[in-house]
Amino acid sequence: MEGYGAKSESMELKLKELFKEVQLNYDSITLTNFIDETVSAIRDAIDTIPEDIKVGADIAPGFVRDVGADKVEFTFKKPNSIEIGGSYSTRSIAKPCTDVDVFVRMPKECFHEKDYLNHRYHAKRCLYLCVIKKYLSTSAGIKSIEWSTFLNEARKPVLVVYPVQELGELPGFFVRLIPTAPSMFNTLKLNLTRNNVRSLNQEKSAPQATPKYNGSILEDMFLEENMEFVRNVFFGWKELAEALILIKVWARHRGFIYAHDCFNGFLFSAVMSYLATDSGGKRINKSMKAMQIFRVTLDFIATSKLWEKGIPLQPQAQRSMLKEERMQYQQSFSILLFDSSGHHNLAFRITRSGFLELQEEATLTLNCINKCSDGGFEEAFMTKVDLPAKYDHHIRMNLKGNKEVSSSGFCLDNECWRMYEEKVRCLLDQGLGDRAKFIRVNWCRSSSHWNVEEGFSKFASDLLLVGILASSPETSFRLVDVGPSADKKDEAVKYRNFWGEKAELRRFKDGTIAESTLWECEQWERHVIIKRITEYVLLRHLHLSKENIVHAADQLDFSLFHGAGDPISFSGGLFVAFATLSKQLRSLKDIPLMVSSVQPLDSAFRFTSVFPPEPHPLADVKIVGRKSQKVTSTCVQPLEVMIQARHLILEGSGNWPMDDVAVEKTKSAFLLKIGESLQKSCGVACTASEEDVDVLMSGYAFRLKILHERGLGMLKKQVGNNRIKRITSKDKELFIRGQHSSMINGLQGRYPIYGPVVRLAKRWIASHLFSTSLGDEAVELLVAHLFLKPLPFYAPGSRITGFLRFLRLLSNFDWTFSPMIIDINSDLTEKDEKEITEKFLLSRKSFEGNVQHVEPAMYLATAYDTASEAWTLASPNTVELRRIMAYSRSSADFLTNLILQDQIESHGWERLFRTPLNNYDAIILLHNDKLPFPRRLLFRSEINQGRHIAQGDSSKEFHPCILSGDKCRGSEEMKNKLMVGFDPLRCFLEDLKREFPNKFKLWYDSLGGDTIGLTWVKPSSKKRAREEESEDIQNPIDVLRSAGELGKGFMRSIYLLKSPRHNS
């Protein structure tokens, strides 16, 4: 109970702050005066328009032509009234959209009673606005006038008027002039069964009903009346208006809800009015707070069954409706929300998929409110749930100049763009079947500078966007789709028509013979299947060229490739080799050790290694003899394997050494014994240094480590005594790595997409030279968080979406004030979480005065490490973290644009991994042919700024490849050439750090980049330290030169961009 109270209190406070940001101050006299003046200025300007102007199609020929209207001449009369409507009148404007709607009531005299036919009303409506625009633009108080559309309906343009005067509170303020036509036509004529667009009729068939067209006119007729109804409910009800603002903020974060085929602010306010009045059972009452109203409304949207039956704003209108009539409504529209008159369905534009989307989002948000730590505030009101982050697959179609879209005219019952949307959606739906959970197609109008005179052709230049939510990978990565069986002739023909030559008749294992489509591909490229299907279907059924369809699915794969393919395909062999190794280890007889378990530690074993190693021909006993044809690499990446073993004699005797060094020495002695024994019994090669023992087996190098449980006990006591003195013994480290490894492995099994997302994330981190700041394990945990706590989304279903969310998480998470709790197997209890929070607060408390330097800056708590000591204790520090956050923010924005917008340049995707080199004080470039794995380099770095300080020759001592000339020699010699775990970059960095401690900070790419970034370390502020330092100050050029000396034969060139600043 206490927790709940605190939660809701904190929510109240947060909402208060939120309102401060988005609410308009209606009590401010300057503001109200300003708006009143602007509107009255417009009113005055319209008043000056002379009466009896003859208006004809010539004012906006393009519009009249495209809308397909015939008789449009009329005589202009002044509007009956000009009134402020919309959200300003209900005091529910949510910044930053601060426009004010003004209803311009068109006089009846301008229209004939039969003008509801054939878009005559729409044409006249537009021409009426043209006249107003013409006169307004000469008015002094008005800066500019633009055309826009009413809820994205092209045949219903509105005027957007920008006043000359501006108010600081309302940047970019404008007034929308919306024409209305109360009681213009007989509502019976606009009944949904009537046909009012004659061109739609075919000869000899019954006239086709035009419900959407009729709705479009009815909407204008009842706009004011409905607004009045809403206004009455909202009048003087502060909480209701606040709740509406909350809903607007919520919906705006979900751009696809605030779209033409889904909800808008007015519809929300109508639903809330319904819930607040008798007809809705007064589900919202005056005692409720804004957040409660918000919840009730979402709950109603998400769960109510009334949507299909029809929701009446006025109960009496409901009763009068006949059953048949309602059936007709249900057939014509997917959602029914009857307006106060009972004649018009307010939700006539809403499509089924749009509404499903809304319901989904409402459900998810309610989930957030119930489950998330801060009552879902962050998730509901602060997180952007846009198309790139929400959907797993994104298709962007460029339909510019495509004749097919408007082949039968722009506007019939529905507009051609809406019909095309539906067509695309149906195609994809049929093509993907159950691979997709949900498909949303949206052809949004960017509506920049549209001119009605030009007609509708300009709208085609906007992009059509498709979002696909993939179902589970087992389904969506399926290779074969089974169609109807051959016996069902009709269906089979249909299937063949749809798929064309892709459909084939197949006999399946269970004996059935059925039509089917096969999407054959390698295991590692299965994520591309959906893309292949969508492209095939769209190209087959729509007249499009391939470059006009961009499906984001595999565009980032290049960063994971090694050579031509994804090295993840080698994982299978790796597991076989590991199984053999662990079997052999267990069966070793001539050592005094009992191997109880063998556990892999390397990330390659959990599919999260960016470059899982390829089997090396020289490291394999069976292959060494053969002459291999390929040029192979010199270096072999060692894979760490942890052995849990008991010593048969030492264990019980108490003679096991007690201090750290001796333990480590004893362990390496055992490992050497194991190595020798393996060498003898199985003939595998073994090479060792004082620290590491590597076993070469089936093409892989396994680095053996022994975990000694005693070591863990020793450590715990030390930690218990003194928290500050954090001693991480080798055993503790091994233990934690083992825990991490098995947890991540489990997670990886649950979410097959997890692996690729981690790999992309690691690659990104490394290619921006953050290898030193953010460890691999930390990245794995961050990505795990995306999958474990996906709200307000579902767990990512594609690598690009996952990667985007990773970038956003990194940049948006509140690292300073909250711990990130990653509960992989959900084994943290409430008590544990409380403990974590306390530990976190403790870690922050000591730095209370100085928020800039907290430690660990990134608090990652897991079941095996509640104090965040394992991975992020030392790095990233606050400065590094800030840098990472800035980079991830810009990368996330860039990736969003890559998905949503047509690229300006073709190499856009690569730029995500190309790091700007001008953010460092100095740059060291390396010889790429001396990197241990040159093929892992993404781009050769070049720099054309700063001062060229030094240049180095490349060494002949080391070649990353074993040259073919060497092949002729004996296999023993070849084997000696192999270098296990040799990494010149690491050696260079170590030398640099040793020679220049505290001189500069190094940024590098551990995955095979050819760049090292340097930033000077600022002299510490303490006086004594500064004194010492000042004696140590060196000319930066000399420093860099001697740094270059250290990298002899490896360093290509050094550039100085910025000299360090001294305050001496």
Binding site: K930, I949, D953, S955, Q1034, I1037, D1038, S1042, H1062
Partner: protein, 400 residues
């Protein structure tokens, strides 16, 4: 006629020479043996100077192996080796590596042209007085006595210094030494500047590879800040705090770093070498570990004896908690020492039932508890408020 001498040069880790020495060889020995002796002499000097960390480079692979204990020592240098081993073990770190001949011209110069032994010892003494450095120094000792080369140079030298060879040589080496000294001893700096430069350049000019050039330019740079009256530098930091505007012309050139294939002290070659050296084979590793364990056990034994001695002295029996197996009797004295592990005590304590009266027994206790709870809530509320202020400061409420 043949002048036989060996010598060495000490450099800072950044390559700046600080001490050099040479010694005339009287006995007739194998070249490898003499090199080994030279290294041993170098080590002695290093020990006198109190250097804590060394990297020794020598042309002779044999000598390196001897010193590293891979080869058996020749009998001629057994006494030297005994000293050397002791010095090495006392060092914080000592690396002995092999280096090809070409890159070591300065040392050759020393061994052949510079031969005033006692002066060197003087300067060494002076240094010892001033020296406070405990920083890691790298001794770049180049010892050599090559009959052929020595002969050649000897002839050269003979023809050059016919009139007064000793004088000329003395002058030169004093200059060089003074120059070096000046780097550490700040007194006569400005006076001796020219000399210093000359000395440094003399040394530098002997170098052929890039690394020597570097050293030269670094010495040059170090002059400027001193002219500007900057703080005196200690021996270890011959570095300049010069700002970038004052860069001399030479620095605008792109500095060229060689591939280093002939220099095993730095760069790729060193790494590759290190890699191979760190993997000498399973047997040797085994031996090393065994040695360590033996030494370690001895040490433990020693500590134990000391402990016992202490116990005997004071007449007290120190009862310590033994990790590992529980012992009921002390092995040495036979006294029963019951020891219970801390964990088991805690465990037992936890198992004990709480028989205390609960804290809510009296009414006033309940009331107090309520009051504190309300207080807690208030504190929490304040915390939230504070938190939100922080968030607001971070503009966390701007939804878009």
């Amino acid at each position: 006629m043949d002048r036989q001498a060996y010598g060495g040069i000490f450099r800072l880790y950044n390559g700046i020479p600080i001490v050099a020495f040479n010694i005339i060889v009287l006995e007739d020995e194998e070249i490898e043996v003499i090199i080994t002796k030279a290294i041993c002499d170098g080590l002695r000097i290093a020990a006198t100077l109190g250097f804590r960390s060394l990297c020794i480079l020598s042309v002779s692979e044999f000598a390196v192996k001897v010193l590293n204990g891979i080869h058996k020592q020749p009998w001629a240098c057994i006494p030297d080796m005994r000293d050397a081993k002791e010095i090495i073990t006392n060092m914080d770190s000592c690396l002995i590596a092999n280096k090809k001949r070409e890159g070591n011209k300065p040392a050759e110069y020393i061994s052949t042209k510079m031969d005033i032994q006692d002066k060197i010892h003087k300067s060494i003494k002076a240094k010892i007085k001033k020296k406070k450095n405990k920083l890691s120094l790298r001794m770049k000792g180049k010892k050599e006595k090559d009959n052929e080369a020595g002969g050649d140079l000897g002839i050269q030298h003979g023809s050059e210094g016919e009139d007064d060879p000793n004088n000329i040589k003395e002058n030169m080496s004093i200059k060089a030494k003074e120059g070096k000294k000046k780097n550490k001893l700040s007194e006569k700096r400005r006076k001796n500047e020219n000399e210093h430069k000359a000395g440094a350049e003399k040394l530098g000019s002997e170098g052929e590879d890039g690394s020597i050039d570097l050293k030269c330019s670094e010495v040059d740079n170090s002059e400027k800040p001193r002219k500007a009256g900057k703080r005196e530098k200690s021996l270890s930091s011959m570095k300049s705090s010069e700002s970038i505007e004052k860069i001399s012309d030479g620095e605008n050139e792109v500095y060229h770093v060689s591939s280093g294939d002939d220099d095993s002290s730095k760069g790729m070659k060193k790494w590759v070498m290190d890699y191979y050296q760190s993997r000498p084979g399973l047997t040797i590793l085994h031996e090393r570990i065994d040695e360590f364990i033996v030494a370690h056990e001895e040490q433990e034994e020693q500590a134990k004896i000391e402990r016992e001695a202490r116990v005997a002295e004071g007449g007290w029996t120190v009862v310590a908690h033994h990790k590992g197996r529980k012992k009921s009797t002390d092995a040495e004295s036979g006294i029963a020492v019951g020891s219970v592990s801390q964990a088991s005590v805690l465990d037992k304590m936890a198992k004990k039932k709480h028989k205390d009266v609960g804290l809510d027994f009296y009414r006033f206790q309940k009331r107090e508890a309520q009051r504190t709870e309300v207080m807690m809530l208030q504190v929490k509320f304040e915390q939230h408020k504070k938190r939100i202020q922080q968030l607001r400061a971070a503009r966390k409420f701007k939804p878009y």
